[in-house]
Amino acid sequence: MSAPTEHVDSVRTYAIVWIVLLILTGVTTAVAYVDLGHFNVVAALSIAVGKMLLVALFFMHVRHSTQLTRLVVSGGLLWLAILITLTMADVVTRGWIGVPGR
């Protein structure tokens, strides 16, 4: 399911992905020391997402996998997003309206 025997990736493919991952680690560390204001978080998370995709698609063979596998992975990530989004919807809006009568 995740690695059908037809698709044996080359060592070269894996090595390239590995080097890119190491480079991205260096980039994210270096960028953290530069003051980009709010963009720091965006940069850090974007790089993290990029690294996750590389590991998932290449090392975990998601790019060769069935539609069902991809649905499962997307579903998991979507559900985490639901948890975070709806909870933060409360946390962020808490101060917006005062207590009636005060």
Partner: protein
Amino acid sequence: MITAAVEQRETYLNASYGLKSWLLTKDHKRIALLYLGTITLFFFIGGVFATLIRLELLTPRGNLVSSDTYNKLFTMHGVVMVFFFLIPSIPATLGNFFLPMMIGARDLAFPRINLLSWYLLVIGGLFAIFAMVAGGVDTGWTFYTPYSTSYSNTWVIATALGIFVAGFSSILTGLNFIVTVHRMRAPGLTWFRLPLFVWAHYATALIQVLGTPVLAVTLALVFCERVFHIGIFDPALGGDPVLFQHMFWFYSHPAVYIMILPAMGVMSELISTFSRKRIFGYGFVAFSSVAIAVLGFLVWGHHLFVAGQSLYAGMVFSFLSYFVAIPSAIKVFNWTATLYKGSISYDTPMLYAFGFIGLFTIGGLTGLFVACLGFDVHVTDTYFVVAHFHYIMVGGAIMAYLGGLHYWWPKMTGRMYPEGWAKLSALVIFLGFNLTFFPQFILGYLGMPRRYHVYPDEFQVLHVLSTAGASVLAVGYVMPIVYLAWSLRYGKLAGDNPWKATGLEWRTASPPPPHNFDVMPVVTHEAYDYSTTVGEAIEVG
């Protein structure tokens, strides 16, 4: 097909003997029976707590138990009934037994993980029983912080650990069901030929897998806060107790759909068999199962309306909560439409099904009441909410469970239960249930708070009615224990298909052989095929 042949035939019950053959079994049917024994035990433990609660509530003052003890009683009633009875009940017993058979498989995808699931429930249960025996826990089954993390002097850690372990039992069962339904269907069994029982359990499994881990990590944080003093929810450190509630209810709201979806799956089987008719709107019912599973994850904030959640979030959650009623209503309409021009028989399982339709509808409609933000501010934390969820979980889920148990009893045991006693106990349960819980709607609306054992005198009449109902209900629940046990030895031999139902599980012997089918079935017809020659053949044969 009777007596002599049955004695010599190999079934899953007589294929091997001895304790080890049961405790180390990989057979999903035996595991289902292990679960049946376990959850029945927990049901009666939870029932003991309920009895003590209702006895205490006979009088307006705290006569029988102290307030601290009362806190423990309702906590442990909730913990046992939710985590150790309702959540496992239908999936682990009827689901385990019949899901593989309904899809024509020899077993689940991962039989050893199935056995592990049972052991995890037992181990979790032992932790919970230890907590009860050692002095109890008094936080409410909801474990709200900071009381549970900083102030309670009771066995929070042991109970949390027990629920944590039992949670993994649920997760693994869900994982097993999903893989089984995807990968082990018989040739010709496409998704839209599956019995709706399978669809329901598939949707349930999705919830188990996506929601339970969040409960697990939340309880782990409570554990860490009590044991290692790392205060995540401690307001003194800037922690947010409402965050606990978000995390807790992210699981615990979908959990109620874990409890009701399998019951709805049973309902589809019962209604179709005892109307001898295909379920009206099969596709709608199938999709609504998945819709309930998905939408159920978007509404948890309706438990936090008065907790300190922002008003805007409250409005969003209230709005979303109305939507989740729609697929449930679709199912009720479709079952009702199935009855129309059906050939209805009033065997015990069908009586439970009728009970479900009425009581689930009341429970579900009152759910819409409490989904309304304004109304909920008035009735939250009162007996109105208590009545609402008992109508669904007891009037709905437990009725369906008993209906399913009776329906499939002949298949599991090879014996018929005594119909007269069964009908009587169904009636006793129905009457006892309504007498217990209907007064609670009124009590709640009038302002009786939940989790209180001291109340104003004017509420006593309603409480006495409720307790009277509870004693009737208790009798109703004990009766099946007696006559089902009796039937194991003295019940009429059932034959392969006593109800003349469609469905693969009825095409093999009662009790089934260890490997389920002597000849692996190939499916060529849709489910509930009562109107074609296949259905007619079953009618005659």
